[in-house]
Symmetry: C2
Subunit: 247 residues, 2 copies
């Protein structure tokens, strides 16, 4: 096993929302590597492990650390929030792994914020949907714009990750303005802050209202499709079933 | 609790891939309702529960059964494969729930096939992506076509659910033909059969090769974006990190 690194999705944060498999892999590890915010969310029983971190934007170094620890004979897990393969470290690990052909990689999937946030809001992604990050650290803003327009063009429900940060306070507003070229401003939308953590807060609103909301970096935003509506305060995207009683 | 129905995502099938929360909710239930294929995947310890089912395409009746069992005083869970809010029963439950205002609903999210299938293949969804079902039971084929084109237009990675069934053997071929209007035929793709179940099989191939593959109904298909490549047999969608050592 020691020549294998597990890349683990922890889900939104609380331990109950991790899979049994993810918990078992962490328990079997000598060292758990991750961004400190996620390491801090781990339960007490994992605090006795060797926990290693690199700062934000030092993701390449964080991945290399996994390979170096494994070469030293330690069973190593790389911890990612949500799902390790959705804006997580999985692909970077495979890229860097080209330099370590003797070390195998295995991704342990987790519950991504599209799923966990949707569950809090109701069922906003219950038909075809897109997931788009507004972070332009690694992606040109023009491509993000193009994807927002394509998602609206296809009448997809949309989950938006990274809608805001200290340096990108107006990005959600910009994204809503783009979407409003194609989508009516009364479209049913919603957002969830701190999913699966202290202070979870879910809000439903129209696209126009969403445009002017300030959301923090721990928020996931949901844009309904043309079949979405608010039912008893929940954001619901209908699948098209006829719910009339069959006769 | 008895006036609350839990709508539970079980993940791909095996118990280790369920969250602790999902397992706890099933343990506390008197009756578990679901499509028989999913009930059969449950571990032995749940077989002593009352397990109720309705046939395929009797989803409305299955949901009504949940409300009726709850009205009889039973703690009820509705079991869905993957995530209950992604092509699951969550939105239909909220729609039907309008007729049962005294009964509360809570969605317990799970690992959807986009995540679990991606983990087997490598990291095909590690940037913005779309999820599209090819089932036209509830969705006009024209809308599915429009979404495929929009997804290609936006250079999204794509996860395709329900790529085939007994009556829709050529739908994946049709979808690939549509995508090839916008995407080069050498695009890196892959598919996974029986994720998290007996006989898991993962294959990588080009879009042109994918067009001519016969896949079964328990398959999830992945189309890379323009930054995807096959690395050591894994389908990887790069996020854009520079992996040169910093100096």
């Amino acid at each position: 096993m020691k020549n294998k690194i597990f890349i683990v999705g922890m889900g939104p944060g609380k331990e109950e929302m991790m899979t049994e498999e993810a918990l078992a892999v962490l328990e079997q590890s000598d060292v758990i590597i991750g961004y400190s915010v996620y390491l801090n969310l781990l339960g007490e029983r994992f605090k006795e492990k060797q926990l290693l971190s690199t700062p934000m934007r030092q993701e390449v170094e964080r991945c290399r650390l996994c390979f170096e620890q494994t070469k030293q004979g330690k069973q190593t897990a790389l911890l990612c929030s949500g799902d390790a393969g959705i804006y997580g470290m999985a692909s970077l690990m495979y890229e860097i792994g080209k330099g370590y052909p003797e070390i195998e990689l295995e991704v342990i999937p987790g519950v991504t914020a599209a799923s966990s946030g949707a569950a809090v809001l109701g069922a906003p992604l219950n038909h075809d949907f897109c997931v788009i990050s507004l972070s332009d650290l690694l992606t040109p803003w023009e491509l993000i714009e193009k994807r927002l327009l394509a998602a609206a063009e296809g009448d997809f429900a949309i989950a938006i990750y990274n809608p805001s940060s200290h340096k990108r306070k107006d990005y959600l507003k910009k994204a809503c303005d783009i979407l409003m070229h194609k989508i009516e401003e009364t479209r049913a939308c919603g957002y969830v802050e701190n999913i699966g953590r202290e202070g979870t807060k879910a809000v439903t609103c129209t696209l126009k209202e969403l445009r002017d909301r300030e959301v923090n970096m721990f928020t996931t935003v949901f844009i309904g499709n043309s079949n979405s509506e608010i039912i008893n305060g929940k954001l619901i995207t209908k699948r098209g079933y006829s719910i009339k009683k069959r006769t």
